[in-house]
C-alpha cells in the first residue's frame, strides 16, 4: 500500500469536519474499502483520530462500525472472506505493511468487546496473561505490580484484591468488563478499541466504565462504538457517524449533538426516519 497521503484524494473524500483537530493524529484512515466476499461493508472511509482523546463511532446496526474498528487492529485478517483496501496508519505508519507483525500491532492496539470475555482463569492470570506472553516483566514481583496497577487503573482493585485467585468468570458483569479493561491496559497499549463495552451493564457499572474512560484518555487514544447517543455525548470529544458503510460526518462531539451538518446525522441522532 502507498504510504504517502494523497492530498487531493483526502480533500475530496473526507467527510465534513466542524473544528480543526488540535491534538496530533494517532490513527489516520484514507479511502478504506472493506469487503466480505463480494459484499462491500465500508466505502471510501477517510478519518483522522486524534491521540489521547475519546472518539465515538455511532450509526445504525450493520453500518460498519465494528468492521472499521476491527481494521484498526487487523482483527479482520482472521475473517477469511474479508478484504481491506486503502490506507490505515498509526503514527503515520501503514499498519497493513507486510513487514509489520499483526501480533505486535495488537499489543499496541487493545480491544474490549461488547460481552465481557474473561478467560476461565483466575482474576490474577487474566491480567497477567498479556504481560507474560509479551515478556513485559522480569520477575514475579514486577508482574504483581503490573497486575495491581492495571486493576487499579480499571478501578477494580478494591473490589478484587482479596480474591485474586478466584475465577474471573465468577465476577459480576460490570466487574468482568472492568477486568477485561484491566487485561487490555496491562500490556500498555497506545490505542484502546471498545465495541459497545457497556451494552450489557447497568447504569452504575456503565458510569464506572465511563469514569474510567475519562481517566484513561489522559494516556490512551480511545475509540468506542456505542448505540447510546447519550454515552457518546458524555464520554467522547469527537464523534463519527456511519451510515450504510459510509462515514457521513465527523466532528467535535458538541457540534455533532447540537448542530450536525448532515441531515442523515440529524435524523439518526434525533430518532427520525433517515
Amino acid at each position: 500500500m502507498d504510504m504517502r497521503p494523497d492530498p487531493l484524494v483526502m480533500m475530496t473524500t473526507q467527510a465534513p469536519t466542524h473544528a480543526t483537530l488540535s491534538a496530533p493524529t494517532k490513527v489516520a484512515a484514507k479511502n478504506v474499502n472493506v469487503f466480505y466476499g463480494a459484499k462491500q461493508a465500508l466505502t471510501n472511509v477517510s478519518v483522522e483520530i486524534p491521540e489521547k482523546s475519546v472518539t465515538a463511532f455511532i450509526g445504525p446496526s450493520g453500518c460498519g462500525k465494528s468492521t472499521f474498528l476491527r481494521c484498526i487492529n487487523r482483527m479482520n485478517d482472521t475473517v477469511d472472506s474479508c478484504r481491506v483496501e486503502g490506507l490505515i496508519q498509526i503514527d503515520g505508519k501503514d499498519i497493513y505493511d507486510p513487514a509489520l507483525d499483526p501480533v505486535q500491532l495488537r499489543a499496541r492496539v487493545g480491544m474490549v468487546f461488547q460481552k465481557p470475555n474473561p478467560f476461565p482463569k483466575s482474576v490474577y492470570d487474566n491480567v497477567a496473561y498479556g504481560p507474560r506472553i509479551h515478556g513485559l516483566s522480569r520477575s514475579k514481583a514486577e508482574l504483581d505490580q503490573i497486575v495491581e496497577q492495571s486493576l487499579r487503573k480499571a478501578s477494580l482493585w478494591e473490589e478484587v484484591k482479596d480474591r485474586l485467585s478466584d475465577s474471573g468468570t465468577g465476577l459480576s458483569g460490570g466487574q468482568q468488563q472492568r477486568l477485561c479493561i484491566a487485561r487490555t491496559i496491562a500490556i500498555n497499549p497506545e490505542i484502546i478499541l471498545m465495541d459497545e463495552p457497556c451494552s450489557a451493564l447497568d447504569p452504575i457499572a456503565t458510569a464506572r466504565i465511563e469514569e474510567l474512560m475519562e481517566e484513561l484518555r489522559k494516556n490512551f487514544t480511545m475509540i468506542i462504538v456505542t448505540h447510546s447517543m447519550q454515552q457518546a455525548a458524555r464520554v467522547s470529544q469527537r464523534t463519527a457517524f456511519f451510515h450504510l458503510g459510509i462515514l457521513v460526518e465527523t466532528g467535535s462531539t458538541s457540534d455533532i449533538f447540537t448542530n450536525p451538518v448532515d441531515k442523515r446525522t440529524q435524523d439518526y441522532i434525533t430518532g427520525r426516519f433517515g
Partner: protein, 238 residues
C-alpha cells in the same frame, strides 16, 4: 423535516410550538389592549388586561414543566435540543412581555382620571404599533423557522428605539413646561420605557429563532438607537 419514529415525541414537540403560538398571540393582544385602555381612559378595560396576564404566566409555567419533563424523558439532541431550549427561552421572553404590558395597564388605571394634553399619545400609539408588529413578525418567523425574517425584526428594533427617544424628549419638555404635568408624564415615561423593553425582548426572541434554526447566534452587534440613558435636558433658569 422527517418525522420521529416515536410519534408521541413528535406530538410533544408540536405541542410546545402550539403553546408558544398561543402565548405569543396573548402577549401581542395584551400589548394592544393595555395601550387602548390607556388611550380610552377605561379603567375597567385596564383591569381586565391586568387580569389576562395571569394566563400568560400559567402557560409559561406549563411550558417550563413540559420542557423539563421532555429533557428528562427524551434527552433531545441536535435540532430537537435546540427547539426545546428555544421554547424555554422564548416562553421566558413572552412572559416578560406580558408583565410589561400588565404594567402599562396598571398605569392606565392610575392615570385614567387625568386629561392628556392633546397629541401626547401619538408617539406612544406609534410605539405600541411598532412593538406589536415586531412581536407578530418574530412569532411568525419562529413558527416558519425563518431566520432571515427573525434577523429583519432584530435589525428593525432600531426604529422603536428612535420613536422612544423622541417620546422621551417630548415628555421631558411637557414636564418642564408645566410641573403639574409631572405626575402624568412620569407614568407615560414608564409606559414608553415598557414598550421599548418589549422591543428588546422581541429581539431576544429573534436571536433565539436564529439559534434554533442555524445553531448559532447572530453575528455582530445589534443596531441600537436608545439614547435616553445619556440624555439630559436641563430646566432653563427663570
Amino acid at each position: 423535516m422527517s418525522e420521529h419514529i416515536v410519534k408521541s415525541y413528535e406530538q410533544e414537540l408540536t405541542g410546545l410550538d402550539d403553546k408558544i403560538s398561543q402565548m405569543g398571540g396573548l402577549a401581542e393582544q395584551l400589548v394592544g389592549e393595555a395601550f387602548d385602555s390607556l388611550a380610552s381612559h377605561n379603567p375597567a378595560r385596564a383591569r381586565a388586561t391586568v387580569a389576562s396576564d395571569a394566563t400568560i404566566d400559567l402557560l409559561h409555567r406549563e411550558l417550563e414543566e413540559q420542557v423539563i419533563l421532555m429533557i428528562a424523558r427524551r434527552q433531545p439532541l441536535a435540532n430537537d435540543l435546540r427547539q426545546v431550549i428555544s421554547v424555554l427561552k422564548v416562553a421566558g421572553e413572552l412572559e416578560r412581555v406580558g408583565d410589561l404590558a400588565k404594567n402599562v395597564a396598571k398605569r392606565a388605571q392610575a392615570i385614567s382620571g387625568e386629561t392628556h394634553p392633546k397629541g401626547l399619545l401619538t408617539g406612544l400609539q406609534h410605539m405600541t404599533d411598532l412593538a406589536s408588529r415586531q412581536l407578530k413578525d418574530v412569532l411568525d418567523a419562529y413558527v416558519a423557522r425563518n431566520p432571515e425574517r427573525a434577523m429583519q425584526v432584530w435589525r428593525q428594533d432600531e426604529n422603536l428605539d428612535a420613536v422612544y427617544n423622541s417620546v422621551f424628549r417630548e415628555l421631558l419638555t411637557y414636564m418642564m413646561e408645566d410641573p403639574r404635568n409631572i405626575g402624568l408624564c412620569t407614568h407615560l415615561l414608564f409606559v414608553a420605557k415598557n414598550l421599548e423593553r418589549i422591543g428588546d425582548h422581541t429581539t431576544n426572541i429573534a436571536e433565539t429563532v436564529t439559534y434554533m434554526t442555524r445553531g448559532s447566534l447572530p453575528e455582530g452587534e445589534r443596531p441600537k438607537g436608545d439614547l435616553t440613558s445619556s440624555t439630559l435636558m436641563s430646566v432653563p433658569h427663570r
